[in-house]
């Protein structure tokens, strides 16, 4: 075996080893790599209840209510299977909307309400002109009417 072949073999073996090591490490840290938990995971008691964590999902349609102080907002986050009530006091991002994604950070209270100290809007991968967006919205609305 020539020296250069040895080096190539070493690179290939090294890369394979590293790949396996990285896969194992990432697998072991799987729980810590989760940026947010879904309402279903919280319902299944998979979320850490004692400390701060994040909940992510869609803002349930028709649940956003502002308190009279103008700052406190109540809404529900849903993953369509389960939902969790959230209370937040502060400024919401512009893209925060009913039916759109959001991620809230905070603690879950004894009353089962999630008290958020930060709410972020989660954008999806769809980029389109406003007309196309309206077309989809009206198609959805038409569908709800038919469903009801």
């Amino acid at each position: 075996m020539k020296r250069r072949h040895k080096r190539i073999a070493f690179i290939v073996a090294g890369l394979t080893g590293l790949g396996i090591a990285a896969a194992l490490a990432l697998n072991a840290f799987q729980d810590n790599l989760v940026f947010f938990f879904s309402p279903s995971q919280i319902a299944a008691k998979q979320a850490p209840t004692g400390r701060t964590f994040r909940v992510g999902g869609l803002v349930q349609e028709g649940t956003v209510k502002r308190e009279t102080d103008g700052l406190t907002v109540k809404f529900s986050v849903t993953d369509t299977a389960q939902s969790i009530p959230v209370v937040y006091k502060g400024i919401l991002p512009d893209l925060f909307k009913e039916g759109k994604g959001c991620v809230a950070q905070g603690k879950i209270g004894a009353d089962g309400v999630f008290y958020a100290d930060q709410v972020l809007a989660k954008h999806d991968e769809n980029y389109m002109p406003p007309e196309a967006g309206q077309a989809i919205d009206s198609a959805k609305a038409a569908k709800t009417v038919v469903d009801n």
Binding site: L92, P93, K100, Y127, P130, A132
Partner: protein
């Protein structure tokens, strides 16, 4: 024609000099065209309004950051395995451009994140792994700069570059493997893109411009590295004069 001839820095130096304008000029034209399409032809987004237009810089630069890393590691590995000096020099030349694009994608992403998400930065898997990519580039550059013996510096850099390759698929798939705040890919190899065609056109034109820019700039830097490292050779002394 004997292509191996150009594996020698002496022969590659004049060739690279001739190649530079062929990449630099089309790159400038495509940048102007891409930005024109991006700002005046592409429609506003239905949710984000005009703030989304930063993707025309953000997405190509993020892609370039990842592509260039793979390319840098490839050249570093070839240079190490075959003792090919020019290959190692190529890896060093690529590293700065790659670091620049990665930094650009982090900065533009953060500027976009504030109006869209409501925060400049979050420690989600996509953002964190991209920050690690920037650190890998910086690590590669400073490791090479800290070792005086060129061939040892090349070898040390190659090991670091190859180890870091593992981070690139992690960045790319992070949005699929884990819950992240960063959205998934709008343009995939398989499947329909979830982005309107004029927006995608602007993005791809600027991506092409970034590629051409990278090639031109890397060749300029490579020529400087060649002159610097081959300074004992008589021809390089002439080239510098």
């Amino acid at each position: 024609m004997n292509w191996y001839k150009y594996a020698s820095p002496t022969n590659f130096y004049p060739l690279a000099g001739k190649m530079i304008p062929w990449f630099a000029i089309p790159s400038a034209i495509l940048f102007v065209l891409g930005l024109y399409v991006g700002f005046f032809v592409a429609p506003t987004d239905f949710q984000q309004g005009d703030a989304y237009r930063i993707i025309f810089i953000h997405v190509p630069s993020a892609w370039m950051g990842m592509f260039l890393y793979l390319l840098m590691a490839f050249y570093a590995a070839i240079g190490w395995a075959f003792n090919a000096r020019l290959s190692s020099m190529m890896a060093s030349a690529i590293s700065i451009t790659g670091a620049m694009f990665t930094a650009l994608s982090l900065v533009t992403g953060s500027l976009w994140g504030k109006p869209t998400w409501g925060t400049y930065w979050v420690w989600d898997a996509r953002l964190t792994s991209t920050l690690i990519l920037l650190f890998l580039y910086i690590g590669f550059i400073s490791l090479q700069a800290s070792i005086d013996d060129r061939s040892r510096a090349d070898r040390a850099g190659a090991v670091l570059a190859i180890v870091g390759v593992i981070n690139v698929p992690i960045i790319y798939f992070s949005v699929q493997w884990w819950n992240t705040l960063h959205q998934g890919a709008s343009i995939r190899l398989l499947g329909k893109p979830t982005i309107a065609p004029p927006m995608m056109a602007a993005m791809l034109i600027i991506l092409a411009a970034c590629w051409l820019y990278s090639i031109a700039v890397v060749l300029v830097r490579l020529r400087q590295i060649i002159v610097e490292r081959e300074q004992t050779a008589a021809w390089a002394a002439e080239a510098r004069a």
